[in-house]
């Protein structure tokens, strides 16, 4: 196939100025694929700004030579979106024979270079709007193979696919169980060994808590719509919002921001917020954000990230795990919705924040879909009564449901 580059020229298609106040636009979809014949004024790409969709007509007749800006991408006015090859169209390379392809498949790309592509490569490229001329081939003579295109689609990420949302609960203290050996014929225990020092410590402290505290757990359902909206805007996790709302609510109910040692009950002035962090198989540690009441949501998010990272790297200092007045545990990333957390002694309460799940809920006598989470709080009945716990949770819910 001989190149006809010398007889063609490339005409840019640019993001049009749709209004004096418009500086950028987003590609919705290309109506034509690379290699398609185009008539002047034919709509070749659809764009959107401010909820207004516009069709961009081809400035000239020719063949779409390349697509430079893919769907769902936002660019400034004047940016070149693609190029149309004009000139002696009859001299353009004819489509490669496509014997195994049905009639509705896109025509073969009339590549501006001397390259040929198999029908399957063309189909995958057309589906994912990949410009084949930019793909490095690993086949014989640099030929682009199916694997090359698939690697681009899967590995390097298709630019048309938006990046996945960050996981909601990266700070979860829990991790999956280690791999279980496949189907042992008889249950076989691994060779007995002593518990690690950390496991022994965790065990002693949990047992001590359950033996001393009069542990009760109270739950409340919270509509997380506004948190979900706001976390996107701030770029922080929902946990940061729960932490901020908890700190504010603790200021309102100081009875829960306290220590109970034997019969010595003392409220603490500062809110020193513990966040449970998983160390994988090694166990669990609760670093403390001292004077968390002085931090904003973003500030709390940054501290949580930093403490979780350093906890896993074993870099926490002693005073960073001491002095907590209230603890939050956040194991919801596997979809669990309720737990009965164990109070971190000598504190008097611990809040459990699990998965946020979309549920049908009744609002003004109609059914609506809302992201719901169940916040559970274990509290020590020696230090307070259920009414305070319920009021605390109601106030916490009100804060989370009015996040702006």
């Amino acid at each position: 196939m001989s190149s006809s580059l010398t007889e063609t020229s490339l005409v840019d298609v640019t993001m049009p100025q749709m209004g004096v106040s418009v500086a950028e636009g987003t590609i919705i979809a290309w109506r034509v694929a690379v290699g398609d014949r185009i008539e002047a004024e034919q709509t070749i790409v659809e764009i959107s700004t401010d909820k207004i969709d516009s069709e961009v007509p081809a400035p000239v007749s020719g063949t779409l030579a390349e697509i430079l800006v893919q769907a769902d991408t936002t660019v400034d006015v004047g940016t070149v979106l693609g190029r149309i090859a004009t000139g002696d169209i009859s001299a353009q390379a004819p489509p490669a024979p496509t014997p195994n392809v049905t009639a509705e498949t896109s025509p073969a790309p009339a590549a501006p270079e001397n390259r040929r592509y198999s029908p399957v490569v063309q189909r995958i490229a057309a589906e994912h709007e990949i410009d084949l001329s930019s793909v490095t081939g690993t086949g014989r003579g640099g030929r682009v193979r199916k694997q090359d295109v698939l690697a681009l689609v899967n590995g390097n990420g298709n630019p048309a696919v938006p990046p996945p949302h960050p996981p909601m609960h990266i700070e979860s203290p829990y991790r999956p169980d280690p791999d279980v050996p496949t189907r042992p014929r008889t249950p076989v225990a691994t060779s007995p060994e002593g518990l690690s020092r950390m496991r022994r410590t965790i065990g002693q402290r949990m047992k001590h808590s359950l033996d001393t505290a009069a542990t009760c757990t109270t739950w409340i359902e919270v509509d997380m719509s506004r948190v979900q909206d706001a976390r996107g805007a701030l770029g922080v996790t929902a946990l940061a919002f729960v932490a901020r709302a908890t700190v504010q609510t603790l200021r309102e109910f100081p009875a829960l921001n306290a220590w109970l040692n034997g019969e010595q009950y003392s409220r603490v002035q500062d809110v020193n917020l513990g966040i449970a962090v998983s160390l994988g198989e090694d166990g669990l540690i609760v670093p403390v954000i001292h004077r968390a009441d002085e931090l904003s949501t973003e500030g709390l998010a940054a501290r949580i990230r930093d403490l979780a990272r350093r906890a896993r790297a074993g870099e926490l200092t002693a005073d960073e795990v001491l002095g907590g007045t209230f603890t939050i545990t956040n194991p919801g990333q596997y979809g669990s919705i309720m737990a009965t957390p164990v109070i971190n002694q000598p504190q008097v309460a611990i809040l459990d924040f699990e998965a946020i799940v979309k549920r049908p809920v009744v609002i003004d006598d109609a059914i609506a879909i809302r992201p719901i989470t169940i916040l559970g709080m274990s509290w020590d009945h020696r230090a307070l009564d259920g009414a305070i716990a319920a009021q605390f949770l109601a106030s916490l819910r009100a804060r989370l449901e009015s996040v702006t």
Binding site: G19, K51, I52, D53, E55, R226, D229, I369
Partner: protein, 227 residues
């Protein structure tokens, strides 16, 4: 301006495209189609799979059709009692045009005693007309070769429940309201509001209104207007 009564969504879509072609060819002047749709959800190309979260069978059991539309934007609902306006007009600044639509609807709603407002400062997701933080009118515009299609939908006295069964316009948690809900006046409100909206829009676009019958429109564009 042409009042068409109740028109199936897909039929109205085809009609818009015919009027647009006529407008682009200069055969007809700027035209406003005012109509209502039977109960329908329309899904755009950017609709997320989770928007119809109760399952299509549920919606069909409520008598609501689901129509896939070759347009941008997210899911929305149309139904009787909602005034739908499709201005098919030549524009050069589409953002200004959308602001003009908002101004016209705000003016028409003010005449009805509703303290409506546009909120362009809140960003493109808040295009439309609001009463406090309740949405009363939606706007979505398509432009091809300088001529608009689609337009606005004002909740006049329609049932608002179907909005709660979906994530309308991709804005979860937005409450919809209507003229009837805001004024607590009895139906029917639509005939009167339709006239106010038509007048307000013509004024905002700097035009004098000329009412034409569907038959005149049909004669002008050369294709049947009503099925």
């Amino acid at each position: 301006m042409c009042r068409l009564g109740t028109v199936e969504y897909l039929h109205a879509l085809a009609l818009q495209e015919q009027v647009r072609a006529a407008r682009q060819a200069g055969v007809v002047p700027d035209t406003l189609l005012l109509l209502q749709h039977p109960r329908v959800y329309t899904r755009g190309r950017r609709s997320a799979p989770g928007e119809l979260s109760l399952g299509e069978d549920f919606y069909r059991a409520q008598g609501i059709e689901i129509v896939e539309v070759n347009r941008g934007g997210k899911i929305t609902y149309h139904g009787p009692g909602q005034l739908v306006g499709y201005p098919i007009v030549a524009v050069d600044d589409v953002v200004q045009y959308v602001r003009t639509l908002e101004r016209a609807l705000v003016a028409a709603l003010h005449e009805e005693g509703v303290p409506a407002r546009a909120r362009p400062q809140d960003g493109p997701d808040y295009t439309g007309v609001w009463v406090e933080d309740r949405k009363i009118a939606s706007i979505g515009v398509h432009v091809q070769r300088g001529v608009t299609t689609h337009g606005f939908a004002v909740n006049v006295d329609n049932d608002l429940t179907p909005f709660q069964w979906v994530v309308a316009c991709g804005l979860p948690g937005v409450r919809m309201t209507s003229l009837a809900a805001e004024t607590e006046r009895p139906a029917p409100l639509l005939p009167c509001f339709s006239k106010r909206a038509g007048f307000a829009l013509a004024s905002a676009l700097g035009r004098r209104q000329r009412l034409v019958s569907p038959a005149r429109l049909q004669a002008a564009i050369g294709v049947p207007v009503l099925a």
